[in-house]
Symmetry: C2
Subunit: 383 residues, 2 copies
């Protein structure tokens, strides 16, 4: 399962004492080849953690042989000492595998501004290497969890090849990217340049459209590794479609496990002049605390939807907007239409549909409601 | 007091049945002259309520003789019928005063997408006109409250002239403008063009820097009326300074009464390359739900401050940022410095100071923490 479903991969997840709970906190994913093609995308936050600074260099040549990940500390804003910890982690993995450290991606997650204990982390790498197994995916997925309540894994089958994936993330989920670490694996033969094309296409419509709380992390990393062990080179279109399916599945799992959320909200913007317009409008609604609190209160407050649309630069006529919630068109031509009392918000899934009447493009952005539990979890996280 | 402190003004606030509680909900402020100069600023939201659409035309020539305001319904996205209600309201005021409706600003606040009862509203105008008094300011200030727990009033004394003001607003407070209605009065002689200059200078550093919840209203209006009744023409610089003082005082009152807030947070950005950069950085921190929830939890989580700074386009070196909370420099050169345990967040007032080390400009942005009470109030507002 998970990242070890495709052939050519081993993985492990062990407890190294970085988490005070004693839970698994170091994961290792190794690509045994024969190919070692890879592609990655990172957070667009300008404040980036040490593992991101390191891994950006690692992925530059399209070759990655292993990914080592830890929870229990983000290693962000920890200065030169923190960077040395990241470097030492990659070196230790490389020593065990007989490869170069420059082919080892490092990912960390947890609190910012906290040094990880380097000795504990390196001992964790030793233990993870010793535990590497062809069915180690689930352990690895468990080891990267922070406030996640469940681990996130996916497998998508192709024609004689497959894609596996794991993800972590529950808060600080916002576009470009959500706060998350994602490792995807495939035994298809896919050259690094094609992997890059496919990954960017897949993340653009999945992780990049997830906006749980508008907060963007310093540590986000998505890496895809191709082992080529199936010997099959799928058409790029097929591979991209399967990778998009895997990323969307993981994105929805992240959404469903978002900290303290009561509702998953899918905001679809129709008939926009451009896809960018559709995404901008969807995102502005997804970031309205007032709207998100209303959904928590099961209140179909479409006025807050219109107020959010009005803050964007998208093309539309303010006097001719239609809005539906769960299929009930509560607003047409910017005036009240069907009775909001007909909108049933008792279930977890909520759809908001906005018709901009300005073109032919569309996009869906996902978010959660704003709840007491969100405030509770995020006011108590580090204390 | 309030808008009736300067000479030349009468005001009233009455109950017209628009609020189900029976509280005052219609306010009227009349400028008896001899001058009727005015200036206004409105929400920059592209979705604008009917009173805003009307009042934008009213203020165009710099002459305003009265402002009529109602709570109990925003008259936004209520279509042509709603616009006619606004127009009828202005006409009724004009009839009573023997003036033209085109000199009457109309402001409404409350739920979006709800028709106000026109008969109730017009009867309220009749009652408000009958109740007009030279000491009616406090009643008017009470009549514009919605979720406000207290009315907001201010008086600033000049040399033989004064400025009075009232404001409402407790949620949907975000820049350009906060959700609020503000009426300012003065008995100074100030031509409309100078009033406009002074008002824009004053709001730029007061209401525009208040960002309680990142949500921008459809109804915001700030209007200043000059009666000239003192006969004194102050230097524009003096008047602007006094008007800025009045607006800042009202902005802080709005901040202190923000829905459900436990803390007032002043974010000061130092040594920015431009004032715009300083405001952008301050606003990005003010909009971080994670940071605001941490303050509610009395957790000096400076990592969330850095993560917010990183989402901006301001000039800075990500490896050389300093951050203080309540005067304790918890982060210097982007690494941990003084012990966060020394940051006492038990009081209501919190300061965050960011040193960008990129220039000489600075700005302060105000916000609140994100609390259980905020979620509660905004999930239950319309139900």
């Amino acid at each position: 399962m998970s990242v070890t479903a495709p052939r050519g991969f081993r993985a492990a997840g062990v407890a190294a004492g970085l988490k005070s709970t004693g839970a698994r906190d170091v994961a290792l994913v190794v690509n045994d080849g024969p190919t070692h093609d890879s592609a990655s995308v990172f957070t667009s936050n300008r404040c980036q953690a040490n593992p991101v600074l390191w891994s950006r260099e690692v992925v530059r040549d399209g070759t990655v042989r292993a990914v080592v990940l830890n929870s229990g500390g983000a290693n962000c804003y920890t200065g030169p000492e923190g960077f040395q910890t990241t470097h030492a982690t990659a070196e230790r993995v490389a020593e065990h595998l007989g490869i170069g450290a420059i082919d080892v991606v490092v990912c960390s997650t947890g609190l910012i501004g906290l040094q990880n204990d380097r000795a504990d982390l390196l001992a964790g790498v030793d233990a993870a290497h010793a535990a590497l197994a062809a069915d180690g995916g689930p352990d690895a997925a468990a080891a990267i969890m922070t406030t996640d309540s469940v681990s996130k894994q996916v497998v998508v089958e192709g024609a004689g090849w497959s894609i596996g994936g794991m993800a972590k993330g529950a808060g600080m989920l916002a576009p470009q990217l959500a706060t998350m670490l994602v490792v995807l694996t495939t035994d298809a033969v896919v050259p690094a340049a094609d992997l890059d094309t496919a990954l960017r296409a897949a993340t653009r419509v999945s992780f990049d459209r997830l906006d749980s709380d508008g907060c963007m992390s310093t540590n986000d990393t998505v890496t895809v590794l191709a082992s080529g062990a199936s010997g099959i080179t799928p058409p790029l279109e097929d591979f991209t479609e399967a990778l998009t399916q895997a990323c969307t599945d993981l994105a929805v799992q992240l959404l469903q496990d978002a900290e303290g959320a009561d509702h998953e909200i899918a905001i679809t913007v129709l008939n926009a002049a451009s896809e960018d317009d559709a995404v901008e409008v969807g995102r502005s609604i997804a970031r309205s605390n007032l709207f998100k609190a209303a959904v928590f209160g099961k209140d179909p407050n479409w006025g807050r939807v219109l107020a959010s649309i009005g803050t964007t630069s998208a093309a539309f006529d303010p006097a001719d907007l239609d809005v539906a919630m769960n299929g009930v068109w509560v607003c047409r031509r910017s005036t009240p239409d069907e009775d909001p009392a007909g909108v049933d918000l008792s279930g977890r899934e909520v759809t908001v549909t906005v018709d901009l009447k300005a073109g032919d493009e569309r996009a869906t952005v996902w978010t959660n409601d704003l709840t007491h539990a969100y405030v509770h979890e995020n006011s108590a996280y580090s204390s």
